[in-house]
Symmetry: C2
Subunit: 291 residues, 2 copies
């Protein structure tokens, strides 16, 4: 049932992204490079989280497609910039050459910049939502993407490579780098659909545990995963001298932590009942995924 | 009189930027690098234009400081990314080492990303303005900064280096790369202050001519300017094989075009009378500046 739901929602996001970042445009190369990374096989996890959170509080997730797609654009921009030679210097992402390998460094920087600005245009064009709410949600997205969120997390990550890193800093880094956008997706999906403050609080707790489980699983997959399915070489973290949940807590310890995060995420969903079935399945899927 | 006005408004912007991007923050390096470029001696032209346009239609420019500062952040982010080795590879800007020369390439990419996201946070936090208006203005800023504006213009610029370029493409490139943000500043300053559609139209025309005069003067200064005052080597355009207004129209031709653009900008201001004195002085100053 989740697979079907996933497929439908991802297809919906795909169609909308395709409309929002059209093939035709001048100069062509900027649209081509933005689309290359946008349609490189992403799971559309953030858009789906936003919509599922809206559903969980009795709303209609599909009403917020602009907001959902904006998150995917922010996510994609961050991957393009993170992959750059000056940053993580990754040649492959999801089994395909990274943006700068195909279009060169300058175009990859600009494709990222283009997606980030387009994300704001798109969220600020969300139909059917009060302007006050558009402003509040967009501001929160900007905050999650910025120096207090993704950008700040990437800086900590960069400075930490090859350094020893304590558990607290590792947690902060991931909360900022990937957790903030997951949380923004879930929290604002709920807010858009008119959630009560208590619902927002509970779903934020869900999102934090979701982010934690996601990251720990990522670190585990880097050790035990299948290179073909992950789309990048296994063991690249330890080769790059990165501190991970596995290097800090051992494989067993990390697996236990991931399970605990999933349990806490489920606990936060308890009072939403059947309406949160998708969110529940999503966090369970996270820790069993193989890529 | 203009000098005094300029100094006061620039100081106002400076103080607000200082408050909006604080020294203290974690990780420190992201705030330090963002501030390095933000306080590297910019003229604050875009914030001042926005405020002067609001004044010209009978508003109070200083009421829109968040919007004004957001433009300066977008401008600064674009300079940081344009200067990168993969792009224009400039070591100096306004006589100081560029962001990546001081903080390295990775940090410069992130400082730019941080400023761009902060710009959206800041404009979406503009106090005292209707949410509907905040959404409309911010969307227009995003559009001016994106693939249809600055990012698109930079792509055309990059692809054009070393290539022959016709007059139409040169004009498009500058309109997108620098003109769009000038226009967004003036147009939205007026809109924020409650301008009539006719006023918006006239001030948009002013801004387009302003942008044109600005760019032509830039190209002229690259040939006849004073290296110390400009802060970068004179003649770098022709050395880099760039087509400019001077290479296309000769020095005389370019100077004539700049004068004509200034005249047309002044014509667009005619019916605003005394209230547009600052906008008038600004465009006159443009073509007589020496850096």
């Amino acid at each position: 049932m989740l697979k079907e739901y996933f497929r439908e929602r991802a297809a919906l996001v795909e169609r909308e992204l395709n409309r929002l970042v059209p093939v035709a445009g001048y100069p062509e190369l900027i649209y081509e490079s933005m689309r290359y990374s946008l349609f490189a096989g992403g799971k559309r996890l953030r858009p789906i989280l936003l919509m599922a959170a809206a559903d969980a509080v009795g709303g209609t997730g599909e009403s917020y497609l602009h907001m959902a797609c904006a998150l995917e654009m922010i996510h994609t921009y961050s991957l393009i910039h993170d992959d750059l030679p000056a940053m993580d210097n990754d040649d492959f992402r999801r089994g395909k050459p990274t943006c700068h390998k195909v279009y060169g460094e300058a175009m990859a920087i600009l494709a990222g910049d283009g997606l980030l600005t387009t994300a704001f245009e798109v969220m600020l064009s969300q139909p059917g939502v009060d302007h006050e709410l558009i402003v509040a949600v967009s501001r929160d997205f900007a905050n999650a993407a910025g120096a207090r969120g993704m950008v700040g997390g990437q800086v900590v990550d960069m400075l930490a490579t090859g350094q020893s890193l304590d558990a607290k800093t590792l947690k902060f880094m991931h909360q900022a780098k990937t957790g903030a956008l997951f949380k923004a997706a879930v929290k604002n999906g709920a807010i858009l659909a008119g959630a009560t403050p208590r619902q927002v609080l509970l779903l934020s707790e869900y999102a934090e545990q979701f982010g934690l489980a996601f990251q720990i699983t990522d670190d585990i997959l880097d050790v035990v995963g299948n290179q073909v399915k992950i789309g990048k070489p296994v063991g690249s973290d330890s080769k790059n001298g990165k501190v991970t949940y596995v290097t800090l807590y051992s494989l067993d310890g990390a697996q236990k932590m991931a399970r605990e995060a999933v349990e806490q995420a489920e606990t936060a969903l308890a009072e939403f009942g059947e309406k949160s079935a998708v969110l529940k399945e999503l966090v369970r899927y996270l820790v069993t995924r193989d890529s």
